[in-house]
């Protein structure tokens, strides 16, 4: 390891307080530069794709309810154990039916594992970040509230609910074959860049190291 020691200052530098003057020059330059403050309620932050905000259950346009199939993957993967699902199993067919789905938002750490692991793209962390309330109960999101959260998100963000894809629903950098569930929505083409594994057919181009355009393969 090379240690870069500070150069010793000469007696002239000490007498004329060169270091203090340098520091004062720096503060003066900073004063004349633009401040980085964002005046929050008026100026809002730019939300990037992949922002993890308020929880929601995507509303299925066909059934009008959630797409959850009660596979329990999200509840199992959740590091803070804040997802509670109850389901009933049909004795003959073995099909599960969701009885209740609830997320304790105050325990959530917004890691996004639940939406990555969901095979049917049901649970999602939306881009909504303003949801303060006066009571703690308001952050216990039951199924109805989670669906309402989705409606609010779609309304505020003006996404087309039939085309909206969350990046975590088909996480980049993970081989399609290792993902669970066949019913994930496909991502737009402009996400399939920079030699990332998105969708199928990525392994070959990754081996050769070439820049790939997945759409053609």
């Amino acid at each position: 390891m090379i240690i870069q020691y500070k150069k010793k200052r000469g007696w002239l530098g000490t007498v004329f307080l060169v270091e203090i003057l340098k520091g004062m020059g720096l503060t003066l330059r900073r004063m004349l530069s633009r401040s980085v403050t964002r005046q929050y309620p008026e100026e809002r932050p730019e939300i990037r794709i992949g922002f993890r905000g308020q929880h929601a259950l995507a509303r299925d346009p066909v059934t009008g309810g959630s797409r959850c199939v009660a596979c329990m993957r999200c509840a199992v993967v959740c590091p803070s154990r804040c997802i509670h699902i109850e389901y009933k199993k049909d004795e003959q067919t073995g099909v599960r039916e969701v009885q209740s789905y609830a997320i304790e938002a105050l325990r959530c750490i917004y890691c996004g594992y639940c939406e990555e692991v969901c095979p049917v793209n049901a649970v999602i962390l939306t881009e909504v970040y303003e949801y303060a309330a006066y009571k703690r109960d308001a952050f216990y999101f039951d199924e109805e509230q989670l669906l309402k959260n989705w409606d609010r998100f779609i309304e505020e963000s003006r996404y087309d609910p039939t085309k909206y894809v969350n990046p975590f629903w088909r996480p980049r950098g993970i081989d399609e074959r290792t993902l669970a569930g066949p019913r994930r929505r496909s991502v737009p083409d402009d996400w399939k860049m920079e030699n990332q594994w998105v969708g199928t057919g990525m392994t070959k181009s990754r081996k050769t190291g070439a820049r790939c355009d997945v759409g053609g393969h």
Binding site: I20, M24, L28, R30, R34, S35, V36, Q39
Partner: protein
């Protein structure tokens, strides 16, 4: 006679209100300057660009509960902030804002200001002692040691100016300065000006010498136990002290009300600009330098500034006797 007294009182009221307005907006100016130096914006919410912030602060402080520590020494506790503010405000009386415009143009103006700034230190010491709290007590002790040390350096740094001007009267100093070859004493008295600037920071308990109230060690130092408007009195005293010190620096070293050209109808303009610059200097230093350690402050005061100021006195004497006479 009666009319004269009434006129003086009127003048005092006018000066007092102007100074108080300046103090209020000095806090705003400080927060803005330091904010921008830290690439922030400072107060922005109350009024356009936070312009009403000082008024909001004043109202808040005025309506806060007046908490009184049970074990405190009551009369001293009540007297301390008043001593602080009164001592600082009294100094304003001898400062000439423009030619012939001073509430009281006395012959020992500089001595009077030095005496009053020592009295303000007395208020701080009393506040620390009367609060019966260890933080306030330590703050008071530090204040007394610091003010004694830097009072000497400050007094000696001004001696050079007194020798060159041949007077202690503030107006006479400015007039003598205007006739000197450079127009300001900051150039021939550069050593004295440097010592004065450092001692000025220490005397008003500003960063990097804010040992009496350093919040990282002593909570708030001598005013820890004070609340509401009594705290505000200390605050006012500190800012009035800053304005006084900036005025003394302006008058002794930067040429007072004289400027490159005369401004009709508004003779105070040069004085104001110079004082504002020095106040900006206070904030600039505060935004740049970290707080000194206590023994470093003492070492700087006794080992560097006082010998420097003494050397400056001797040098000025030699120059005045053999070169400038």
């Amino acid at each position: 006679m009666v009319i004269e007294i009434l006129l003086t009182i009127l003048l005092i009221v006018v000066v007092f209100s102007v100074i108080m307005l300046h103090v209020a907006y000095a806090t705003y100016f400080e927060r803005k300057v330091i904010g921008h130096m830290q690439v922030r914006m400072g107060p922005m919410r109350v009024g356009p660009h936070g312009l009403l912030q000082p008024i909001a602060d004043g109202i808040k402080l005025f309506f806060k509960e007046d908490v009184f520590p049970e074990t405190a020494d009551k009369p001293t506790f009540y007297a301390a902030p008043i001593i602080c503010l009164v001592a600082a405000l009294t100094s304003i009386a001898v400062i000439p804002f423009w030619e012939g415009m001073a509430i009281s143009d006395i012959n020992i103006g500089l001595l009077f200001i030095l005496a009053m700034s020592s009295l303000a230190g007395w208020g701080v010491v009393l506040a620390g002692w009367a609060s019966n709290s260890k933080y306030a007590f330590l703050g008071g002790l530090r204040a007394s040691a610091q003010i004694i040390s830097y009072e000497i350096a400050m007094g000696l740094s001004i001696v050079g100016v007194m020798m060159m001007a041949g007077s202690l009267n503030m107006s006479e100093i400015v007039k003598a300065q205007a006739q000197s070859p450079f127009g300001i004493y900051a150039i021939p008295q550069v050593l004295g000006f440097f010592v004065f600037l450092v001692a000025m920071l220490a005397e008003t308990n500003r960063t990097p010498f804010d040992m009496p109230e350093c919040e990282s060690e002593l909570v708030a130092g001598y005013c820890t136990e004070y609340a509401g408007f009594r705290f505000a009195l200390f605050f006012l005293g500190e800012y009035v002290g800053m304005i006084v010190m900036a005025s003394v620096g302006t008058i002794c070293f930067l040429g007072g009300w004289t400027g490159p050209f005369e401004v009709p109808f508004f003779p105070i303009i040069w004085f104001m600009l110079k004082v504002y610059f020095l106040i900006f200097f206070f904030y600039w230093v505060r935004a740049t330098l970290p707080r000194y350690r206590y023994d470093q402050i003492m070492a700087l005061g006794w080992k560097v500034l006082i010998p420097l100021a003494l050397g400056n006195v001797i040098l000025t004497g030699i120059m005045k006797t053999f070169v400038w006479h």
